[in-house]
């Protein structure tokens, strides 16, 4: 059981590494935002699942309170991260942050110009 948990947490570290590399490499703000979603989904879920299994099976007496608290934290991350991402993406576009090179298509900008 211990090695399964180590594999879970290792996968989580791997995806967090992918997110960090993406945030350092990608050329514009919106793509960096996509990469930060990578950190806040699988980078979190592996550690949460591994922690729940660890606090039930590895401790001498199973610590149910810790397991439940970890699950609540996981649900909290899953609920709040899209809200923050959505708010920041909209604010960035309204503020005038644009990618450096041309995007394939930009329906949002076209519709905003037509509305004005």
């Amino acid at each position: 059981m211990i090695y399964a948990i180590y594999v879970l947490i290792g996968l989580s570290v791997l995806f967090a590494l992918a997110g960090v590399v993406g945030m350092l490499r990608f050329p514009d703000s919106f793509c960096r935002m996509q990469s930060s979603t990578n950190i806040s989904t699988f980078g979190v879920l592996g550690v949460i699942l591994g922690g729940v299994l660890w606090s039930i099976f590895v401790f001498d007496t199973p610590d149910w309170a810790m397991a439940v608290k970890l699950l609540v934290m996981g649900v909290f991350y899953i609920i709040t991260s899209p809200i923050a991402g959505h708010a920041i993406a909209k604010a960035a576009y309204k503020k005038g942050v644009r990618p450096e090179k041309e995007m394939v298509c930009d329906k949002y900008g076209e519709d905003l110009e037509n509305a004005d």
């Binding site: 996509q34 989904t41 899209p82 949002y108």
Partner: protein, 180 residues
Amino acid sequence: MKKTKFSAFLSTAIVCYIFWLLITGQIASIFTGGASMQVLLAGAVVSVITALFSARFFIHSKAFWLFNPLRFIIWVFYCLIIFMWELTKANIDVALRAFGFKKINPGIVKIETELKSEYAQSMLANSITLTPGTITMDIAEGNGKTYYYIHWIDASTDHIDEAGDNIKGTMEKWIRRIWE
């Protein structure tokens, strides 16, 4: 200011109290014995006060919609199986793009949804934002339909229906089953 209905108040209070039980760890000690009476009472008082203020933001239509057990089971199934599968695919895809094995071509596309309920629309938007590679930027309504503007890291097409099929996948069908 909208007047708070009693049913909305009651369901908000129940949700707050369940959250309190989970976060203080009392729900584990109820089953093993030795739950502290003080903590339970304090949680009741706090959740009633919170529900008084926040019920009108939390409940917009029927109050006890999610307390139906069948609907709740479908919800959990959606979160654990369908959504996890989409999440895994998208995560591996974006990780490969981050390490440089695939190219990126970002773009903002516009897709259309047929969901009517407010909760269903916001749940679909949150699901789309939570899968890496797509971020919902805005929701607009025009001539009776609802549109999302989505920043997509691999904008292979800008046609409204093909992009919708690619992004939503099977998620929209299951969300309609939950909320409608």
